[in-house]
C-alpha cells in the first residue's frame, strides 16, 4: 500500500538526501519496519539490488503490517486525526515525526508533553494521539500515553483506549482522596483495603454526629435551668452570659491536647457518660 514510496527513484544515487527515512516515510515507523527499511537504504544502490531490497523491505513491511494491521492502520489514522484535530500543533507533530530514530511511542510522548502545556482543564477528550477513537489494542512496546491534561501512566498490557484511561484516572483520584481521609481519621492508617477504611470513616462520622446530638441535648438541659433537668445534681445549671471570653481559650487548649495525644479519648469518655452504645 505504501509501496510506491519505496521505489527506485528514491534509492537512486543521484539524490543521496532521500536516503534518510524521513522523506520516504513521513509517518512514525515501527521498529521492525524501520530495521527492514534501513537495510534497504544502506545497501549499495544498484538497480537490481535496490529492487530486491525494496521488495524485501516491502515484504517485511507487509508482514509486519499484517501482524499489526489494526494497530498500524489505527496508528496512522490516529496520527491523521490528531493532525486534523489540533491544527495548531501540526508543526510540532510533523517535526517530531521527522525524527528518524523515534518509535511511535516517543512521538506520542513528545506531542503529549507539548500539548500538556495547554490549560489544565479536565476533559479527557483532549488526548492527542494516545487515545484516538480507534479500537487499536496494545502495542508491542510499553505504551506511555500521557494524556493532555492528566498524565496517567498505563502499565504494560493494560488497555490504552480512552475509556479505560479515564476510568483509571478517576480511580487514582479516588484512592488519592481516600488516603487523605485516612490521615484525618484516627486509627485508619493501619487499615488496608478500601472497604474497611470506608467502614471506619462511616463509623467515625456517625459517632461524631451522635456526639453532637448528645452534647446539644445536654446543652439544652443546661440551658433551660434546674426545673427541667432530669436530676438536679447531675446537670447543674450555669449562666451562659459568663461564657464568651474564656471559652475560646478552653477550646484551643482542648484541641491542642487532643492533637498532641494523637487520638480522641475524650469522646470515648463521653460515650460512657451518655446512654449511647457505640456500634463497632
Amino acid at each position: 500500500m505504501d509501496l510506491p514510496l519505496v521505489n527506485d527513484s528514491s534509492f537512486s544515487p543521484a539524490n543521496p538526501s532521500s536516503y534518510t527515512l524521513s522523506e520516504i516515510w513521513p509517518f512514525p515507523v515501527n521498529d521492525a519496519v524501520l530495521s527492514g527499511l534501513r537495510l534497504a537504504v544502506n545497501s549499495t544502490p544498484s538497480d537490481k539490488d535496490v529492487s530486491t531490497a525494496a521488495a524485501a523491505a516491502a515484504a517485511a513491511e507487509e508482514s509486519t503490517v499484517t501482524d499489526l494491521t489494526a494497530g498500524w492502520g489505527g496508528r496512522k489514522a490516529r496520527a491523521l486525526n490528531s493532525e486534523e484535530d489540533e491544527s495548531s500543533k501540526m508543526v510540532s507533530l510533523s517535526s517530531s515525526g521527522n525524527e528518524v530514530k523515534d518509535s511511535g511511542d516517543k512521538k506520542r510522548k513528545l506531542c503529549g508533553s507539548e500539548s500538556g502545556n495547554g490549560d489544565g482543564s479536565m476533559k479527557p477528550e483532549g488526548e492527542t494521539s494516545s487515545g484516538g477513537g480507534s479500537k487499536a489494542t496494545e502495542q508491542k512496546n510499553k505504551p506511555e500515553p500521557p494524556k493532555d491534561y492528566i498524565h496517567v501512566r498505563a502499565r504494560r498490557g493494560q488497555a490504552t483506549d480512552r475509556h479505560s484511561l479515564a476510568e483509571r484516572a478517576r480511580r487514582e483520584k479516588i484512592s488519592e482522596k481516600m488516603t487523605a481521609l485516612q490521615d484525618i481519621i484516627p486509627g485508619c492508617n493501619k487499615i488496608i483495603g478500601k472497604a474497611l477504611v470506608l467502614d471506619e470513616i462511616i463509623n467515625y462520622i456517625q459517632s461524631l454526629q451522635r456526639q453532637v446530638e448528645f452534647l446539644s441535648m445536654k446543652l439544652e438541659v443546661v440551658n433551660s435551668g434546674p426545673s427541667t433537668g432530669p436530676t438536679i445534681g447531675v446537670f447543674p445549671t450555669g449562666d451562659l452570659g459568663t461564657l464568651p471570653i474564656d471559652l475560646h481559650r478552653n477550646i484551643y487548649e482542648q484541641q491542642e491536647a487532643n492533637e498532641s495525644r494523637g487520638s480522641h479519648p475524650e469522646w470515648l469518655h463521653m460515650q460512657v457518660d451518655g446512654s449511647f452504645n457505640r456500634t463497632t
Binding site: K177, I202, I205, Q206, E213, S216, H248, N250, I251
Partner: protein, 162 residues
C-alpha cells in the same frame, strides 16, 4: 481541598498575625454564632417550642454558617431552612444498625460493597447524594474536621456552664 484538610490538622501559630489557621477561624465563628443563639433560646424558653429540636437546630445552623466555604454547608442550610426539624443526624442510629448487618454478610461483589459504602457515606454528608463520588470524598474530609471542632466547642460550652 486536601490542603485545606491538612491545614486544619496542624495548628500553626504563625508569626504573622494576619494569618489565622482555618480551624481557629471556624471555631471562632461557631462559638460566636452559637452562644448568642443559645442565650436567645434561653430567653424564649417560656414559649412552647420543642426545646430539644430547637437547640439542635441552632447547633446545626451554627455549624453550617461557620463553614460556608464548603459545599455541604449550603445543603445543610437548605435543609435547615426548609424544615424546622433537623434531619441530618436523626437517621444516624438506623444507619449504624445497617452497617452492622452488612458487615455480617460476606461475599458478593467487592466493588458493589464498596459502592454501597460510598452511598452510605453520601447519605451521612449533607448534600452528599447530589455530588459525585470524587467531590464527596473531598467534602467529607472537611466535614469531619468541622464536626470534630464542633464537638470540642460544644463540650467547652457545656463544661463552662456546669
Amino acid at each position: 481541598m486536601e490542603r485545606q484538610i491538612i491545614n486544619k490538622k496542624k495548628r500553626v501559630f504563625s508569626v504573622e498575625p494576619n494569618k489565622i489557621p482555618p480551624s481557629e477561624v471556624f471555631t471562632r465563628k461557631y462559638t460566636r454564632l452559637l452562644v448568642p443563639a443559645l442565650k436567645k433560646l434561653n430567653m424564649n424558653k417560656n414559649s412552647s417550642q420543642a426545646n430539644q429540636l430547637t437547640v439542635k437546630h441552632e447547633v446545626d445552623m451554627a455549624l453550617a454558617l461557620s463553614a460556608q466555604e464548603f459545599a455541604w454547608s449550603r445543603f445543610l442550610l437548605q435543609k435547615l431552612s426548609s424544615s424546622n426539624n433537623p434531619t441530618t443526624t436523626t437517621s444516624s442510629s438506623s444507619n449504624g444498625i445497617r452497617i452492622q448487618k452488612r458487615s455480617g454478610k460476606e461475599g458478593g461483589d467487592e466493588d458493589g460493597e464498596i459502592e454501597e459504602k460510598l452511598r452510605e457515606l453520601q447519605k451521612l454528608l449533607p448534600g452528599g447524594e447530589e455530588m459525585n463520588v470524587e467531590e464527596m470524598l473531598g467534602e467529607i474530609g472537611n466535614y469531619i474536621k468541622c464536626l470534630e471542632l464542633q464537638t470540642i466547642a460544644l463540650k467547652s460550652i457545656v463544661e463552662d456552664t456546669t
